[in-house]
Amino acid sequence: MTATDAGRRRLFRRSGADPTEVLAAGAAIAADLRGGLGAAADLGPDPVARAARRLRSLLGARAVGLAQLHGEPAWAGRPGSAADLVEQVRKDGHRATAKEAVALPLVVRGEPAGVLVVVGEVGRGAARRAADWVVEALERSRLEASAAAAAEAELKALRAEISPHFVYNALTTIGSYVDSDPERTRDLILDFAEYIRHSVARRGEYTTLAGEFRAVEAYLALARAVLGDRLRVQVRIAPEVLPVALPFLALQPLVENAVQHGVERRGEGGSVQVSGEAQGSDCVIAIEDDGPGMDPEHARAVLAGAGTGGLALVNVDRRLRAVYGPQYGLVIETALGSGTRVVMRVPRFHPGVVAS
């Protein structure tokens, strides 16, 4: 009989050798460690202490301790003098043993993350496997946390997406009016401030359509100054939809997109039309340009996140669906050579969606 076999027997001994129970305990331990070894204990029962208790009963140990790199370990049972092993492992990073106790370093992705202490008549193999299981759970929790952080960072990055190209063009244009038209300069600077303020705002998640339109008007005033006669714009909005709450920067990036793709890249210029109106219990906003348009297949691919470019469209589409449900995404009507019309439909009232 090998040491591993002995360990496995021990591992199953107290839990009645029922694989279902063992697997369930393993899953529960992994779930308890989802927040890492430093999961906050002040919000309800300490999940790390719970994981230690589950490990203790799974292993049939007298005591089990889970420790981070600093601070008090979470103990299940009384460790006695074995508690000293924690410091020893923290210091030199190697396995440490005492009478009927073993402390194992928990190394997550090559870096020390903590210590597992097992006290009692538990086979070495079983203790090592338990440590491996904890390490795997910790690795998974880190991956999950970094994926969530990446998603959040992506949203933040997209929120603060200001085109440097546009900013420099606007500043250059404003500068050119300083001598000839001081009053227009002042107005444009106020528009610029409004545009930037809205783009970098860290307020609640929702604004009113009135607020979003204010930012759109500021952007269009600047774009008109930059592009002159090349940009023809018409904005039409029905007053009853002004109070509609919608996510910050749901509309303005679409208008910028239309100006960039529909007008700016064409020497002869073009026109952009923006409208907002009520249709029953929905508010319908349309942004239309008479630019080069695109292959409808390409538009579909862009919204599916597969095509290149169209970051603004994808971002707005995804946020709308996340907030209002799958039926409320963007609709793109386009064809090569015949302009693009982006339609956004949002409910006029939606539970939980309140402008800050």
Partner: protein
């Protein structure tokens, strides 16, 4: 008026805007909280325009100090961030302005300051308003009445105003400023030097390539000057939030 800001050009601009307003008799600049306190002791001020983020004592702290004065001046915060607005009202500020400050927005604030400071005649009593709930017009030698509720907008034409209704328009001998005095409190807003508009009559706001703004009504389009655009938008938002525009048309 006292203006306080540690950024010299911002302070100069704010002082200039205050002095440019006809409502302001005197505007004194102060570069920090301490100078502001000293200045306040040297005379009486109706209002203090306070930058929030300043080194040393910041605007919020200074406002808390001012609130303990015997006869404190009104406080208006001038800030770059709207987040600060909440804390601004927390210390009893009258209003807050976003940087950079727009002249028309500042004038709206000054009107409020004067009203609170009691330096402005109180609005005409309701009886005077009702006097003009209907306006008599001469039509083919006969006197008829146009109901105010039917008037979508009024247009100044020299010493006359033309009242536009769905069914047509009527000329009345009255300066538009007088009409505004009476109708200003009952849902009409001046949107242009020559136009007074019923907020509830607006069906659509339209802006065109030149940046000009039009309010579309069923009696015709009304031009909105840049100076009045913000107030009209705010009034429309208020009215729409109250549900004045129904469930959609």
């Amino acid at each position: 008026m006292l203006a306080v800001d540690d950024v010299a050009p911002a302070l100069a601009e704010l002082t200039r805007l205050l002095r440019a307003s006809p409502c302001v008799a005197e505007a004194v600049p102060a570069g920090d909280a301490l100078t502001a306190l000293k200045t306040l002791q040297s005379g009486t001020f109706d209002a203090v325009f306070l930058d929030i983020s300043m080194p040393g004592m910041d605007g919020l702290e200074l406002a808390k100090l001012l609130a303990r004065m015997a006869d404190p001046p009104e406080v208006v915060f001038v800030t770059a961030f709207e987040e600060h607005a909440v804390s601004a009202y927390g210390v009893g500020a009258l209003d807050y302005l976003l940087k950079p400050v727009a002249a028309e927005r500042l004038n709206a604030t000054l009107t409020r300051v004067l009203r609170v400071a009691g330096r402005e005649p109180v609005a005409p009593p309701p009886a005077a308003v009702d006097e003009l709930a209907a306006v008599s017009v001469e039509l083919g030698g006969r006197t008829r009445y146009v109901r105010r509720a039917d008037v979508r907008y009024a247009e100044a034409q020299g010493d006359y105003v033309r009242l536009h209704t769905r069914g047509g328009s009527h000329l009345v001998r009255m300066p538009i400023s007088r009409l505004e005095e009476h109708w200003g409190g009952v849902g009409y807003v001046r949107v242009h030097r020559s136009f007074l508009l019923a907020v509830s009559a607006v069906q659509e706001l339209r802006s065109d390539s030149t940046g000009g703004l039009l309010a579309h009504t069923d009696a015709g389009d009304v031009p909105v000057s840049r100076r009045h655009a913000r107030e009209l938008r705010d009034r429309l938002l208020e009215a729409a939030t109250r549900g004045d525009f129904g469930a959609g048309r």
